[in-house]
Amino acid sequence: MENLIWIFVSALLVNNFTLSYFLGLCPFLGVTSRLETAFRLGLANIFVMVITAICSYALNTWVLPYAPYLRLITFIIVIASSVQFVEMAVKKLSPELFKALGIFLPLITTNCAILGLALFATNKGYGFVEGIVYALGAGGGVTLALALLASIREETRLMDIPDLVKGTALNLIIAGIISMAFMGFAGLFSAT
């Protein structure tokens, strides 16, 4: 149990996917102009990540021992089809959300956070339950980072900022500061 909590908190805060591994930066910089959209994208991310964790566990156990060189290709294809599934479900359940997320939903396929999750979980040798907890932590971490940046960006809209700095440059610098704050979590577990 303690081990599971550690995996969760580590993926959520200490080794945050977005802020310390730089994974999933495209949506991080692209969809974070509004808090609500960012939050929903984060939720979609968690969902896909959990599916990915289940799929990658299945692949690692039953398929890949026989053909290790197919690892990347099978991961990608399984992830792509699971994203397709989310996309269809979202389109059916809430067309509004589908419109709001626009191009970024299919792009979750080429989101490094998703493939990164599958690869890291494999490298760390996580089992089934550990994999799912890891996915929840990582997805929660991505959502947290998206929501933080989006709320700061909403505030900056009212500020007087030179044109030159507006846009990606400003977002990156804000992200750097958030990332610096997150570095404080590094001491959370090593001390005990």
């Binding site: 802020l19 310390s20 591994y21 730089f22 994974l23 999933g24 930066l25 495209c26 910089l29 060189y69 690892r71 990347l72 290709i73 990608i76 294809i77 792509a80 792009l107 396929t109 080429t110 989101n111 490094c112 998703i114 493939l115 990164g116 690869l119 890291f120 490298n123 030159l164 700095v165 990606t168 440059a169 400003l170 977002n171 990156l172 610098i173 992200a175 750097g176 500061i177 990332s179 610096m180 570095m183």
Partner: protein
Amino acid sequence: MEQKNNMSAEEFLKGLWKENPVFVAVLGMCPALAVTNSAINALAMGLATTFVLVSSSLLVSLFRNIIPKQVRITAYIVIIATFVTVVDFLLAAYTPVVHKELGAFIALIVVNCLILGRQEAFASKNRAGLALADALGMSFGFTFALLCIGVIREVLGNGSLFGIGVFGEGYEPWVIMILPPGGFFALGFLLLAFNGVTERRKNKAKLKDLN
């Protein structure tokens, strides 16, 4: 013939500055920030990406009339993943040290939006020669950008360049630059500089037009 050459040259050059994948299009950010804590890692990542982008652009362009429209993205991804697997094994065999440093990020070249983006936007619509020029330009632009970030981070954060000290003993390194936040800061300020230069050029061109 001459016009053909001009076109290829143009496709090549646009990737270096005008449509630079990192500074202008802001694509492929994950590797641009994750592995650029030293110049040598940045260079290795740039070259690996170059290999994957050039080979998959060439292949996609050659097969562009055979690949059915409905499954094109899947087809591109399979092609890209194949070349990434090749690079992964090549690096593991010949430069195990670099391979270990870059770790999972070599495998993550598969999901570099830059590569898939070029297949969809360019290679699938143009003949092989142009696709090759475009891929080369884009990947050199990408490597150039990575190297810029890598050099800045290594010089400031470690006081060295390609592992050789540049400031001597008395230099107190800015450790933050080789840690994750440094990546965000370095790219943020580089983008600022890039915007500044572009803006200035535009203004100069405007002045010329007025005169």
